[in-house]
Symmetry: C2
Subunit: 327 residues, 2 copies
């Protein structure tokens, strides 16, 4: 019985790989530079090289059930990058699966990097042991991942999970997706920073954060904002509450749709941790049915930067293993 | 190999039953009064009686894989009605599965009536042959059903799919769920009627529908409104466009979340048919990503009142059959 899976996470800087056992144990890991600036074919070459490194560590392919890839953008069932990977020039259009299959004779699968990370959180992290887990990843945008009936749900052409573009304020802030009031405009890192800039102009109260923004004395990020939240700065608190209320609305919609076991909040913004989960929990309660809300805990992600490669490996078990081998 | 499934749909007036083959063919059907006014135990007795009638028609239990029940409200995995069936006094708290198992020795499953109807639409109706189908049922409220990866998704305690309470207008019309601006307040039958009443007061244009409402000369329903839509009545058109825009917003959110193959609109309001699907399609385009929108057709339900019992029977194959037996 094949009991190992290879997972590779394609990041802008590094390719991170892991060999995972069917019981969720990390056996080996490795990383090499992505060299994304050298184009799609170089990225593909590096994926092949990393696979070789990992297979060498395993020793024999006989134990390996398959390889999973997490990539920015959308990858279809044939393994072709069909869009959405704007930060990787030349990556769109690349056929990823064929060369991997040809060279290694392995079963290959893949998904959006955020989506597969959600699978990792649901199997090994904050949603461990639960059937229905929805993840919001709060970073430069807001991505999402949907695990239902214990399997990753990817939708048509792997495009499901655009949770950042749930509209939470009718006629709200313009979003680059063409809508107004998407939750991403409030609760992503740049969304929070923009809220802070907007409020800084009109706020009359004293605020150290306001001073920094108006003096333009240093670059601020969501981390800066949460440093000031911890100091009870009124501008920072105003941003925090607006962002968490908007995110709470989106979480409420998700709870009403999925009646999930858990909603997991991850991504760079979640460095701030419990102050966000507790505020979002408070706000979400007002935007969904009480029975579903009571059943669903809203928690912080646990796996951090490893979630991508772990999720990619788990996708192999999710798609190719008999049910006994699934976590 | 067991190739038949029994499906029973519990309605306020009738219990409707069907014996379905694994290829989706109706073998037998029957209906008896629910006698819901006589309380939960009487309803249960009638379900047992209808099962007996259907099994008699089949002749032998050996061919029957199991029995599925579609019921108003929420039924948990143990088969207990845990809530939401307000129109059936005494039904909440009833243990449905145990007596059925005891009497007939069959595998039993169940789900919310709207939810299982969505399974029928996805397998035998407007979503036939597609993996990911989301249904909105527009009636006195708005219910929903979610079929993903070709299986019905029911969520915790069977509560998933409250699509009627997606908020589509911040600070909009008060909903009895406690939120404001739920899509149900605009695009359900009573929602449309209320919109018409509200607009009738302020509208200055001539309108035959306005006259009927202001004279209070007859009871209006969504059907009345659509009779006047077909006559280009300005009030009716205003209600139609508002309802369809609000529903389009909710459909857009659903498309961004699920990247589904199809969104199916059913329920009594959909008697009006294509005029609604085409308007909702037009509006939804503005509320989701173009690639996902292009992939997803928005269509009218096909199965009508039979969808409940068919879905209940299909749930048996969905849950108990080996994958070969699934449609």
């Amino acid at each position: 019985m094949k009991k190992l899976a290879i997972g590779i996470d394609l990041g802008g800087t590094n390719l991170k790989g892991v060999v995972l056992s069917a019981t969720g144990e990390k056996i080996f890991s490795a990383r090499i530079p992505t060299e994304s600036e050298k184009g799609g074919q170089r990225i593909l070459g590096n994926i092949l090289r990393l696979t070789e490194i990992l297979l060498d560590k395993v020793g024999s392919k006989d134990e390996v059930l398959g390889l999973g890839l997490g990539t920015p953008g959308f990858i279809d069932q044939r393994g072709i990058i069909i869009g959405g990977a704007e930060n990787l020039p030349g990556w769109k259009g690349t056929d990823v699966f064929s060369p991997l299959k040809k060279k290694f004779g392995l079963k290959i699968t893949g998904g959006n990097d955020v989506t597969v990370a959600a699978l990792a959180e649901s199997k090994l992290g904050a949603g461990k042991g639960l059937d229905n887990v929805i993840c919001f990843v709060l970073g430069t945008g807001i991505g999402g991942g949907i695990v239902v009936n214990s399997s990753l749900y990817q939708g048509a052409m792997g495009m499901a999970g655009e949770l950042g573009h749930i509209v939470v304020e009718t006629g709200g802030i313009d979003c680059n997706c063409g809508q107004k009031g998407c939750v991403e405009r409030y609760a992503s890192g740049p969304g929070m920073v923009q809220l802070a800039r907007n409020y800084a102009i009109t706020m009359v109260q004293d605020s150290s954060l306001k001073k920094i923004i108006i003096d333009n004395s240093s670059q601020i990020t969501s981390e800066t904002i949460y440093v000031f939240v911890s100091k009870d700065d009124p501008l920072a608190l105003k941003v925090h509450h607006k962002a968490c209320e908007m995110l709470g609305r989106a979480v409420g919609i998700i709870i009403n749709i999925f009646a999930p076991d858990r909603v997991v909040l991850g991504g760079g913004v979640m460095m701030a941790g419990p102050v966000i989960t507790s505020a979002v929990t408070k706000y979400a309660a007002g935007y969904c049915f009480a029975d579903m809300f009571k059943h669903c805990e809203i928690v912080q992600a646990e796996l951090g930067e490893e979630s991508g490669q772990l999720g990619a490996a788990l996708l192999v078990f999710d798609q190719f293993a008999s049910s006994q081998l699934r976590l």
